[in-house]
C-alpha cells in the first residue's frame, strides 16, 4: 500500500506537470476603434478681399481652402446631432493638409472612441501662399483672413468661413440652436504662425470663439523686454546676406525672395500682412473673382484697403515697381528694428491687440504649449509664447500652460511631435465646449 501511495502521488505530480502544456489561447487584445469618420475638402469664396492678394496661389483662385473632419456617426443638419467645431490654422509654409499628415484623423477617432473627447467637427484651414504663409491678418495684400475666419455675416454662400461652415455642416450654431450656442461650441487653435492667427482671432473676435490654444506661436513680437521676439532675427537676416559683390546697401534692397532662407521668408510673409507698400494696385486679372473693386478716375483698379506707405527706407520691390509684390521690412540694413515700419507690426502684436480689445479674453479658455527640451531656435516662437504667458500672468488672465518634449534622439523641434500634442489640444477644447446632451 505504501508503495502504491507513493506511485499514485508521483503519477499525479507528473500529470500536473504535463497539464502545464494546456493552450492559453490568444491573449492579445487588438487596438481597434471606430474609424468611420470622414474628411471633406472645402473651398469657400469670400465675397471680398481675398482675391486681391499678391500671392499667385490665392490670386488665381480666391477661394480659401480647408479640410473638414466629421466624426463617426456624422449626419447632415437636421438629420443627426449637431457637433461643436474646432478650427485649426496651418503653420507657416504648411497647408490644410498639415494636421492630417500628422495623424489628426487617427488621434480624433481614437479619443472619440475612448470617450476622452466630445465628438467634434475639425476644420483645418490652409494658410500657405507663395511666400510660405500668412499671419492670418487683414490686409488686401495677403488676404483678409481675420475677417474671413472671425466674423459672422449671416450669408452662407458669400459670407465668412463661419457662415459657410455653420450653413453647410451640422454645427452647434446660433442660427439653429440659439444665441450663444455657437460661441460656446466653437474653438480655434494653431501651430506656429497658425497659433498667432488663432490667438489674434480669439482676441479680435472673442464674440465667436470660447477657447483658444496656441502651440509654439509668435505671440509676443518684441519679447518681454522689447528686444526679444522677432528682433534678434532681423540681425540674423542681415548677417546671412552676401554683400561682397554689391555692398550692403544694394544687397539689402534686392534681398533674395526665393525660398532659400526660412527666416527671411517668414519676415517677408509678415511684411505682406503688416506692412505692404501699396494695395491700391490691383491686377485686372483678378476682376472675374472679386467684384467689389473701386475704379479710380485714372483707370487703376484699387482695392478698398487703402494702406499706402510712403517711407522709402526699408522699401523692397523685388519684382520692380510695376509688380504688386512690394512691402516694407521692419528692420533696416544694419539689422536694427526700423520704428516707422516696426510699429505697424507691433500694432498687430497680441498684447497690443488685447489693449485694443479690452476684456476680450475674459471668458475665453486659453492654452499655451511650448517645447521644453528643444525650443524653436530658428524662429524663436517658443520663447515668444513663454513671453506672452508672462504677459497674461501680469494681466491676471488665467491660462493653461503646458510644455512638451521629445525623446532621446528625437528632440521636440518644429512640428515633429505634433501627433502626440494633438490629443492634448483636442482634449482641452473638448473640455471647454458646452455641448448639450443629445
Amino acid at each position: 500500500m505504501r508503495l502504491a501511495y507513493k506511485l499514485s502521488v508521483l503519477v499525479m505530480a507528473v500529470a500536473i506537470i504535463a497539464g502545464g502544456c494546456s493552450d492559453r489561447g490568444d491573449t492579445i487584445t487588438p487596438i481597434t476603434y471606430n474609424t468611420s469618420s470622414l474628411v471633406w475638402t472645402i473651398g469657400h469664396e469670400y465675397h471680398q478681399e481675398l482675391g486681391f492678394t499678391m500671392f499667385p496661389e490665392i490670386k488665381i483662385d480666391p477661394k480659401m481652402y480647408g479640410k473638414v473632419y466629421t466624426p463617426p456617426g456624422y449626419d447632415n443638419p437636421g438629420q443627426g446631432r449637431p457637433y461643436p467645431v474646432l478650427i485649426l490654422l496651418s503653420p507657416f509654409n504648411e497647408t490644410d493638409e498639415f494636421y492630417f499628415n500628422h495623424g489628426l484623423k487617427d488621434v480624433a477617432d481614437r479619443l472619440i472612441s475612448e470617450g476622452k473627447i466630445e465628438p467634434m467637427i475639425i476644420i483645418c484651414m490652409n494658410g500657405r501662399n507663395s511666400y510660405g504663409g500668412t499671419f492670418y491678418a487683414d490686409a488686401s495684400a495677403s488676404g483678409k483672413y481675420t475677417t474671413i475666419l472671425g466674423d459672422i455675416e449671416g450669408e452662407i454662400s458669400t459670407g465668412t468661413l463661419i457662415d459657410y461652415i455653420d450653413g453647410v455642416f451640422n454645427t452647434l450654431s446660433d442660427a439653429r440652436h440659439g444665441d450663444g450656442m455657437g460661441r460656446k461650441n466653437r474653438a480655434i487653435s494653431g501651430v506656429g504662425v497658425g497659433g498667432y492667427g488663432a490667438m489674434r482671432l480669439a482676441v479680435m473676435h472673442s464674440e465667436n470663439y470660447s477657447s483658444v490654444s496656441a502651440i509654439s506661436a509668435p505671440l509676443d513680437f518684441d519679447g518681454s523686454g522689447g528686444t526679444g521676439g522677432f528682433v534678434p532675427l532681423f540681425q540674423n537676416i542681415i548677417n546671412e546676406l552676401d554683400t561682397t559683390a554689391l555692398g550692403l546697401d544694394s544687397t539689402y534692397k534686392i534681398m533674395d525672395t526665393s525660398f532659400n532662407s526660412p527666416v527671411r521668408n517668414l519676415i517677408f510673409a509678415g511684411a505682406t500682412s503688416f506692412s505692404p507698400h501699396d494695395t491700391s494696385y490691383v491686377n485686372p486679372e483678378f476682376l472675374p473673382y472679386n467684384p467689389p473693386y473701386i475704379v479710380e478716375p485714372n483707370g487703376i483698379w484699387q482695392s478698398s484697403d487703402t494702406l499706402q506707405i510712403t517711407d522709402q527706407e526699408t522699401y523692397l520691390k523685388p519684382y520692380g515697381e510695376d509688380r504688386p509684390f512690394k512691402f516694407h521690412m521692419p528692420f533696416d540694413k544694419t539689422g536694427a528694428a526700423y520704428n516707422p515700419i516696426w510699429q505697424l507690426w507691433l500694432d498687430n502684436n497680441i498684447p497690443n491687440l488685447m489693449a485694443n480689445y479690452p476684456g476680450a479674453l475674459d471668458t475665453t479658455a486659453i492654452m499655451l504649449l511650448t517645447s521644453a527640451d528643444s525650443p524653436d531656435e530658428l524662429f524663436g516662437f517658443d520663447q515668444q509664447t513663454l513671453d506672452f504667458a508672462d504677459y497674461l500672468t501680469s494681466q491676471g488672465i488665467a491660462y493653461n500652460d503646458t510644455s512638451f518634449a521629445g525623446y532621446p534622439g528625437f528632440p521636440a523641434d518644429g512640428n515633429a511631435i505634433l501627433f502626440d500634442i494633438l490629443g492634448r489640444i483636442l482634449e482641452f477644447h473638448s473640455r471647454n465646449f458646452e455641448t448639450p446632451e443629445f
Binding site: L3, K6, L7, L10, V11, A13, V14, I16, I17, A18, G20, C21, D23, R24, G25, T27, I28, T29, P30, I31, T35, V39, T95, E97, F98, F100, N101, H102, G103, K105, D106, V107, A405, G406, Y407, P408, G409, F410, D413, G414, N415, A416, I417, L418, F419, D420
Partner: protein, 497 residues
C-alpha cells in the same frame, strides 16, 4: 564518519564555489529520463546512455550494451507585458499593458543512444553513439501592432519575435577505466548540427528629414525572419572517480562550438502612410513617396551568421547512502560570456523593389538603400552562469526507482546593471530559476521504462530600460514585465543486452 565528512565537504565546496563562478542561457536540460528525474544531478552517476552528455566517463561503468530512446516534451509558458514608449511618453505600436502569452507550442524532442563494449578492444573500452539536443530555444510572440496613424494596412506575421534554435550533437563517445576501474575517463566527439529560425521586429529610425520623419512616422517597423542551418564540431571530456565504495565524484569539461549558419531571410518594412503625400514630394523628391506612400516593402536575402555555443565545466558527487537510496549533487558553470548573440549578414537581395522597378538600387533613394540593406544584429551581453542541482533516487523494489531533484540556475543576464540588460523575447532568461523534478523508472527483464517531469519557475522581471547595446540606433532589448515557467516531461525506453 570519514565518508560523511568527505561528502559534506565536497558538497559544500561545490555549493560555495558554483554561485561565485558562474550556467543557463538556452542550454537544454531535458536530456535523459533518469537524469531529469534527479534534477540533472547526474555527473557522478552517469549510468545510462545520457552519460554521453552528463559525463562520458560514465560509459566505462556500463556493463551491458544499451539501446535507448527518449522523447522530451516541453512547454515554454511565458508572458510578456510590453512597456515600450519612446522617451517613456510616446506610443510605439507595441501592445503595451497587455499580458501576452507566447504562441502555444508543445515541443517534442527525440533523443537516444547506443552503447556497447567493444570486444576487439579487450572489452575494456566502451563506445557509444548518442544523438542529443544540447541547446534549444523555441518560442514566438506577437507583441506589436502597426499604429493606424503610421500605416493602417500594414500587418506583420504572427511570429514577430521568434526563435526555433536546435543544436543537436551526434556524439561518438569512448570511455575506459584506470586504476583498477576506480577512475574512469571518457571522451565524446560530436558533430553538431545547428538549425535556426529566428524572427525579429525592430524599429528603425526614419532617416528622412522633417516633415517626412515627423511623428507618427519617426520609426519604421522592420521585421525579418532568417531560416538556415549549419554544422560544427564539439567535444566533452569526463572523469569519474570512486572515492569509496559508496561515493563517486565526477567532473566534466565541454568545449565551445561554433556553427556557421546559412540560409534565406524574409524581410518586411511597413512604410509610413500620409493621406496627402503630394505636399511633400516637391521638397524631398521621389524618396518621399517611398517613405510616406504606405508601401509595404517585402523582399528576400541570403544570410549568414555564426552560432557560438559556450564551453562549460562541471563537477558532481554521488553518495549511496543506503543500498536503496542515492543522493547526488552537481554543479556546472557555462561560459555564456562568450556568447554575444547573433549577427546576421545579408546579401543577394531579391524583391519587387530591387528586381522590377529598381527603386532600391536607384541613386534617388540613398536613405532607403542605407536603411533597407543593413545587416541586423541581436547583441547579447551575458555573463558566465552557474547551475547547481541536487537529486535523489530511491529504489523501494528491485524493479522500481523513484526520483526527485531540485535545481538552481543562475541567470546569464547581468540584472544588476539595468543599462546592459539585453533581454529579448527570443531568449528568455529572467534570473535565478528554480526547477523541481520528479521521476519514475520501471525495470523489466532488461527493459527500462522511465518518465520524469520538471517544473521550472523564473522570477518575474519588470524591465524598463531601453538599451541600444551596439550603438546602431536600434533598441536591442524589449522592455516588458516578463513572467516565465517551463514544463517538461521526458519519457524513455531502453533495452540492456
Amino acid at each position: 564518519m570519514g565518508k560523511v565528512r568527505f561528502v559534506l565537504v565536497t558538497m559544500a565546496v561545490i555549493l560555495l564555489v558554483a554561485p561565485q563562478i558562474m550556467s543557463s542561457g538556452f542550454a537544454y536540460d531535458g536530456l535523459g529520463v533518469k537524469a531529469r528525474g534527479m534534477g540533472g544531478a547526474f555527473r557522478a552517476i552517469a549510468d545510462d546512455w545520457s552519460a554521453a552528455f552528463y559525463n562520458p566517463a560514465g560509459y566505462n561503468k556500463l556493463q551491458d550494451n544499451i539501446l535507448a530512446l527518449n522523447v522530451g516534451t516541453m512547454h515554454n509558458r511565458y508572458w510578456a507585458n510590453p512597456r515600450i514608449k519612446w522617451g517613456g511618453i510616446f506610443e510605439s505600436g507595441y501592445l503595451n499593458n497587455q499580458r501576452i502569452a507566447n504562441h502555444h507550442a508543445v515541443l517534442n524532442i527525440p533523443q537516444g543512444g547506443f552503447v556497447t563494449r567493444m570486444p576487439m578492444l579487450g572489452g575494456e573500452t566502451v563506445l557509444g553513439l548518442a544523438i542529443m539536443q544540447v541547446f534549444d530555444q523555441n518560442q514566438s510572440w506577437e507583441l506589436f501592432q502597426t499604429p493606424a496613424a503610421h500605416n493602417d494596412s500594414g500587418v506583420f506575421p504572427e511570429d514577430q519575435f521568434g526563435i526555433n534554435l536546435d543544436a543537436v550533437a551526434f556524439q561518438f563517445t569512448a570511455a575506459r577505466g584506470f586504476m583498477e576501474d576506480k577512475l574512469s575517463l571518457g571522451l565524446g566527439l560530436s558533430l553538431m548540427r545547428g538549425d535556426l529560425v529566428f524572427s525579429n521586429l525592430v524599429m528603425r529610425d526614419n532617416p528622412m528629414a522633417s516633415p517626412i520623419s515627423d511623428r507618427p512616422h519617426d520609426k519604421i517597423p522592420q521585421w525579418y525572419r532568417t531560416g538556415g542551418n549549419g554544422w560544427g564540431f564539439g567535444w566533452r571530456l569526463g572523469a569519474l572517480y570512486d572515492a569509496t565504495e559508496k561515493i563517486r565524484v565526477g567532473a566534466t569539461i565541454t568545449g565551445p562550438t561554433s556553427i556557421d549558419l546559412e540560409g534565406e531571410a524574409d524581410m518586411k518594412f511597413i512604410m509610413g502612410e500620409s493621406p496627402y503625400i503630394n505636399q511633400y514630394i516637391t521638397s524631398q523628391q521621389l524618396e518621399a513617396v517611398l517613405f510616406l506612400g504606405g508601401d509595404i516593402i517585402e523582399y528576400t536575402a541570403d544570410f549568414e551568421t555564426t552560432l557560438d555555443l559556450p564551453a562549460s565545466i562541471g563537477g558532481g558527487v554521488a553518495w549511496d547512502i543506503r543500498e536503496d537510496l542515492t543522493l547526488a549533487l552537481d554543479a556546472e558553470m557555462t561560459f555564456w560570456s562568450k556568447f554575444e548573440g547573433l549577427q546576421f549578414k545579408f546579401s543577394n537581395y531579391e524583391g519587387t523593389n530591387f528586381a522590377n522597378n529598381q527603386i532600391l538600387v536607384s541613386p534617388s533613394y540613398p536613405n532607403a538603400q542605407e536603411m533597407i540593406e543593413t545587416d541586423m544584429g541581436v547583441p547579447v551581453v551575458w555573463k558566465d552562469a552557474p547551475r547547481v542541482a541536487v537529486g535523489a533516487e530511491y529504489r523501494p523494489r528491485s524493479f522500481v526507482s523513484l526520483r526527485g531533484g531540485f535545481g538552481i540556475d543562475k541567470s546569464a543576464v547581468d540584472w544588476s546593471n539595468p543599462v546592459a540588460v539585453t533581454q529579448v523575447p527570443q531568449f528568455i532568461d529572467l534570473g535565478t530559476k528554480f526547477s523541481y523534478s520528479l521521476g519514475i523508472g520501471i525495470n523489466l527483464d532488461g527493459w527500462t521504462l522511465e518518465m520524469s517531469g520538471t517544473y521550472t519557475h523564473h522570477p518575474d522581471i519588470n524591465l524598463r530600460t531601453q538599451n541600444d547595446q551596439d550603438g546602431d540606433g536600434i533598441v536591442d532589448n524589449l522592455p516588458a514585465y516578463y513572467e516565465a515557467d517551463n514544463y517538461q516531461t521526458v519519457m524513455g525506453i531502453s533495452y540492456r543486452f
